[in-house]
């Protein structure tokens, strides 16, 4: 399964679901909805955390959190 953590800078994908129930509520509230497009825009130094563009703004999260967001396979 491809997740947001697999994206390189500039890559994008569409959210298909979540693997962590607890985190999913926070992510949903922040606008990471199934079917929404995400684009990876930045890596922090050492590759973690990451920043994505979603629902029209920039959201940062750790790599392990990004790995709970499933996206469509290419």
């Amino acid at each position: 399964m491809r997740t947001v953590a697999d994206l390189g800078i500039g890559d994008h994908g569409f959210i298909t679901g979540f693997t962590d129930e607890k985190l999913s509520l926070k992510l949903l509230e922040m606008g990471c909805l199934p079917g929404t497009e995400v684009i990876l825009t930045h890596h922090a130094p050492f590759g973690d955390p990451i920043a994505i563009k979603v629902s029209g703004y920039t959201l940062s999260m750790r790599k392990e959190e990004a790995a709970t967001i499933l996206i469509n396979s290419i």
């Binding site: 129930e21 509230e29 920039t58 940062s60 750790r62």
Partner: protein, 708 residues
């Protein structure tokens, strides 16, 4: 006077809530405390018209009414509980028009709670620049709510907001769609039967969040748990499904009310300023360098520029004291007023410039949106030590004062990260330690240049002390990370807001409010301690004070004038309550190189370390053998002779032992009280006090033994 209506300002972080608050209330603001929590409560008066005033309450920024951190919890405790003293008559939800959908999520939740609500659409200009045109009249109809377009930063659209608020206050209309997702009617009926006939959505909120709400007793919580089990209700599932459902509805609404020009023209996405700046600020090398440069300027300001106003305040207080001593007849009252009260107040006022400078920088960094970039680049590093990117703000703030720093940990969502941050924050050298460092360094470190004349040796030692505090904080955090158990995983899901120019009005309010809080909160303690100290140093058990006077007079029949009164004062101090305390603990602090005089200072500065310098000057001015006229505290301490060795008392070993002790010791009542209020348990302030005192004692012992 009739009770004036209350409005709560609610909104996402960065939606412009605080700007709007400042535009509405201007200088008519006051900070207070919410009952039972330390969080600053910011309220202000908004004049709708002559004799028509409204109290506006600024609530912390939240994304949803389901709380994930402590400051979010506060909002739900107010909005969820109609019996709460701060429960509003209505709410203004401030929404960032350039991110409408996510902002409307919170709006729809607040409205469904049954609170009459007005929607204030902010940052419409930003949205239009990005190619979105919003039909707010249509939006108002779709959501059946009064909508006002405002520009909070410039204060435009306030009249429209006034009208909307007046209308809503008059008809008390709260459009209510009922439940976003249907649940069984029996479930709602059960809750209503037990807790009164309230709005169904509020019932569900109580059911799902009762653990975080202070309004419920243990029994009531158990009842709600039972209802949950009985109906097989799963809060997590419901919340997720509800959020998705709300977004579905809001997407339709937004599609109908917002025209996206980009889509029509199929224009390529514009490269914004934020994108360009992030290239620099988030750069693996450049990002850190920039942050370091900012830190450098900040420290320069706090430790160099702030000294001018500080010296002025110091001189002013001294002048006032001399003047009072000149015009008032010698009496107990004069002593209490000048050496006790005014000296104590002066000790508080002197920190204002540093605190003001520090909060100027911190609020500038937060205003512009840069602070979240700092958290972003620091998270990985901080995480290794059991901290969190968000711990950077408290650690930085505690260079001024640990009290606001500990309060700023509320935004840290994970309990374990937050606890560790609270526990180690006081190890950072706060501004109260600075006068101690300054006096002691001047005593034991020679003033000369070193490293090819680039650095001043005294400055270097000062810098090392700050670094030492920082590294000790990291090290302690690392140990605590291994010991403390986490119930929940820490997370770092955080908005990186677009860069904005700072609103200087807002910056100045932040400085003003923080200085006010410091002066009144910490000030109370410091002044109280100063007075107690003065009493303890001026009185002794039984007739010991008169005996001391007589003894000196008999022993030194030839002395007169200043010399005699100094000798008497010294003898009196030794026999006062403070002197007895100092002697009592002398055996314990002997291994660190301290005598009973320093013992007195340790005891008095237990409650507030800044009292140390004051105590030293009290002790040595009372007992000093030097002519009082041109002797500063530094000179008096320098002249002190160690009775055992016959050499100067304040040598390298003692000086560094004291420096290390003050760098690590937990000597601040206000901090301990804040830790207690923030963790709601005596366990953590005790741990904090215990480990820091042990650390201080041990390090001071090692330093003294190694150097002497």
């Amino acid at each position: 006077m009739a009770k004036i209506p209350k409005i709560a300002l609610i909104g996402n972080p960065n939606a412009g809530k605080s700007s709007l608050f400042n535009s509405l209330t201007g200088l008519r603001q006051k900070t207070g405390n919410f009952p039972g929590v330390t969080m600053d409560k910011l309220t202000g008066i908004w004049e709708l018209g002559p004799k028509n005033e409204i109290e506006v309450l600024d609530l912390p920024g939240i994304y949803s009414i389901y709380p994930k951190s402590i400051d979010e919890e506060l909002v739900i405790n107010i909005l969820g509980n109609p019996a709460h003293p701060d429960y509003p008559d209505m709410a203004i939800v401030v929404a960032d028009a350039s991110n409408l959908k996510r902002n409307l999520l919170l709006f729809s939740q607040v409205r469904d709670l049954g609170i009459p609500t007005v929607l204030a659409l902010n940052m419409i200009d930003v949205a239009e620049n990005e190619g979105y045109v919003i039909n707010s009249i249509k939006l108002a109809r779709e959501l059946s709510v009064e909508v006002a377009e405002v520009n909070a930063k410039k204060g435009i659209g306030i009249n429209g907001l006034k009208l909307a608020v007046q209308k809503t206050l008059e008809n008390r209309f709260s459009s209510n769609d009922g439940l976003p997702l249907p649940v069984s009617e029996e479930l709602i009926a059960d809750i209503q039967a037990a807790f009164g006939d309230v709005d169904p959505y509020r019932c569900l909120l109580w059911l799902m969040e009762h653990d975080r709400m202070k309004m419920f007793t243990k029994v009531q919580c158990a009842d709600l748990d039972q209802i949950m089990v009985k109906h097989n209700f799963e809060p997590k599932k419901y919340k997720s499904a509800e959020t998705v459902k709300r977004y579905e509805f809001l997407t339709e609404v937004v599609d109908r009310c917002v025209i996206n020009l980009n889509r029509q023209w199929d224009a390529p996405p514009v490269k914004t300023w934020t994108d360009r700046l992030d290239k620099l600020f988030l750069h693996p090398v450049g990002g850190y360098l920039f942050f370091l440069a900012i830190l450098f300027v900040m420290f320069q300001a706090v430790f160099t520029w702030a000294t001018y106003p500080m010296d002025a305040i110091d001189a002013g207080v001294a002048l006032l004291n001399d003047w009072l001593k000149g015009i008032l007849p010698e009496s107990t009252f004069r002593g209490l007023l000048t050496d006790g009260l005014i000296a104590g107040i002066g000790g508080v006022l002197i920190f204002i410039p540093q605190i003001a400078f520090l909060f100027f920088f911190i609020s500038m960094l937060e205003e512009t949106g840069y602070m979240s970039r700092v958290m972003f680049i620091m998270d990985k590093l901080m995480r290794r030590f059991g901290l969190n990117g968000k711990s950077v703000v408290p650690l930085l703030s505690s260079v001024a004062c640990a009290v606001p720093a500990i309060m700023s940990t509320r935004s840290i969502g994970s309990r374990k990260d937050r606890l560790i941050t609270i526990l180690v924050t006081p190890l950072m050298s706060c501004s109260a330690r600075l006068p101690i460092y300054t006096v002691l360094i001047a005593l034991v470190v020679p003033e000369k240049n070193t490293l090819f004349g680039l650095f001043n040796l005294q400055g270097l030692v000062l810098f090392i002390l700050y670094l030492l505090g920082f590294f000790m904080a990291l090290f302690s955090a690392y140990l605590m990370k291994l010991i403390l158990k986490a119930k929940e995983k820490s997370y770092f899901i955080m908005e990186l807001p677009t860069y904005k120019g700072p609103r200087f009005k807002h910056v100045s309010y932040t400085i003003l409010n923080n200085v006010k809080a410091f002066v009144f909160e910490a000030g109370k303690v410091i002044v109280a301690i100063s007075i107690i100290l003065w009493v303890l140093a001026s009185y002794g058990p039984g007739n010991s004070m008169e005996d001391a006077t007589n003894r000196i007079k008999i022993q030194n029949p030839n002395l007169t004038g200043v010399e005699l009164s100094n000798k008497i004062a010294g003898e009196k101090l030794e026999n006062s309550y403070a002197g007895h305390f100092g002697k009592f603990i002398e055996p314990a602090i002997r291994p660190l190189g301290y005598d009973w005089k320093i013992g007195i200072a340790l005891i008095t500065s237990f409650a507030a370390r800044e009292v140390f310098v004051g105590t030293m000057s009290t002790i040595y001015s009372l007992g000093g053998e030097i002519d009082n006229e041109n002797a500063t505290i530094k000179n008096r301490m320098r002249a002190e002779i160690n009775p055992q060795t016959g050499k100067p008392m304040y040598d390298m070993a003692l000086g560094f032992s004291l420096l290390i002790f003050y760098a690590f010791a937990m000597q601040c009542m206000s901090t301990l009280a804040t830790t207690y209020r923030e963790t709601k348990s005596w366990k953590y302030p005790l741990i904090q006090f215990g480990y820091m005192t042990a650390l201080a004692y041990l390090s001071a012992f090692l330093v003294y033994q190694a150097l002497s």
